[in-house]
Amino acid sequence: MLEQTPAHAHQFETLEQQREADTLGMWTFLATEVLFFGGLIMCYTFARFSYPQAFEAASHRLYVAYGGPNTAILLCSSFTMALAVRAAQLGGRKATTALLAVTALFGAGFLVVKGFEYHTDYVEELVPRFRFHWEGPDAAHAELFFWLYFVLTGLHALHVTIGIVILTIVAILSWRGKITAEKYVTTEIVGLYWHFVDIVWVFLFPLLYLIGHR
C-alpha cells in the first residue's frame, strides 16, 4: 500500500469535521429522547398539579434509602464515563477499557438496587393492577402516581440496560485496540448517551421521591 488510508470516512474533509458530525448526530437523537421522556413528564406534571395530596402521600411510600444511593451510583458512573472518554482521547487502551467496564458495573449496580426496590414495592402492594392496596384517601390517584412511577423508572431502567450493553461492546472494542486516540469519538458518543440517562434520573429522583417534605 503506497498511500496511507485517512482516518476519516471519504465523505468528510477532515477528521475534526467527522467528529463534529458524529457528536451532532448524537445530540439530535438526545433531543428526541428529551421529548420521548417529556410526554410522560407532561402527564406527571398535570397529574401532580391536579391531585397534590394523593401524589405527596404516594411519594412518601417510596424509600429515599433506595433512590438516594442509586442517584449517587449513577453520578459515580458519569464520573468514570467522563474519565473513560479522557483516557480514550489520550490513547490509553487499558485505562479506557477499565473505566468503561467500571461504568458498566455502576450501571449494573443501579439495576440491582432498582430490582430490590421493585421487590419492596411488590411486597408493600404498590404495583398498580397486579398488587395494589391503598389505605388512605384517594386510592385511585395514589395508584396513578405508581403507574407513572413504574412507567418512568421502567423506561429509564431500559435505557440503563441498553447503555450497559453498548458500554460492554465498546469496552471489548477498546480492549482489542479498535479505539485509538483518533477514533476516541466512539467513546464520546457513548458518553453523551450515558450522561443523558444520568440526567433523566437526576430529574426523576426529586420528582418521584421528594414530593413535599418527608
Binding site: E16, R19, E20, T23, L24, W27, T28, L30, A31, T32, E33, V34, L35, G38, G39, I41, M42, T45, F46, F49, S50, V64, G68, T71, A72, L75, C76, S78, F79, M81, A82, L83, R86, Q89, L90, Y184, V185, E188, G191, L192, H195, F196, D198, I199, V202, F203, F205, P206, L207, Y209, L210, I211, G212, H213, R214
Partner: protein, 92 residues
C-alpha cells in the same frame, strides 16, 4: 472544540459538586419549606443537569451549533409544559 482534553481535577471537582448537590437536595427534603420544597428540588436538579451537560458532555467546549441542537429539545419541552399547564392553571 470537542477534542479538548479536560483535566482530571476538573472532572473530580464537578463530581464532588454533584454529590454535594445530591446531599443538599435529600437534606432539604426533610425540612418543611411549604411550596418552596418543589422549587428548591427542581433548582438543584437543573443545576446538576447543567454541570453534567457543560462539563461531562463537553458542551462548554463545543461549537455554537451543538448548543442549538442541545437547547432545541429542552426548548420544545418547555413549550409543551408551560403552555399546557398555563391552560390548566387558568381554567375556571
Amino acid at each position: 472544540m470537542s477534542n479538548t482534553v479536560v483535566p482530571t481535577k476538573t472532572y473530580l471537582a464537578i463530581f464532588v459538586a454533584l454529590m454535594a448537590l445530591l446531599a443538599i437536595t435529600v437534606g432539604v427534603a426533610y425540612v418543611d419549606l411549604g411550596g418552596l420544597n418543589l422549587a428548591v428540588a427542581m433548582g438543584i436538579a437543573i443545576a446538576k443537569a447543567a454541570l453534567i451537560v457543560s462539563f461531562f458532555m463537553h458542551l462548554r467546549y463545543g461549537r455554537k451549533l451543538t448548543w442549538v441542537f442541545a437547547g432545541a429539545g429542552f426548548f420544545w419541552l418547555a413549550i409543551m409544559l408551560v403552555l399546557t399547564m398555563g391552560d390548566y392553571a387558568t381554567r375556571s
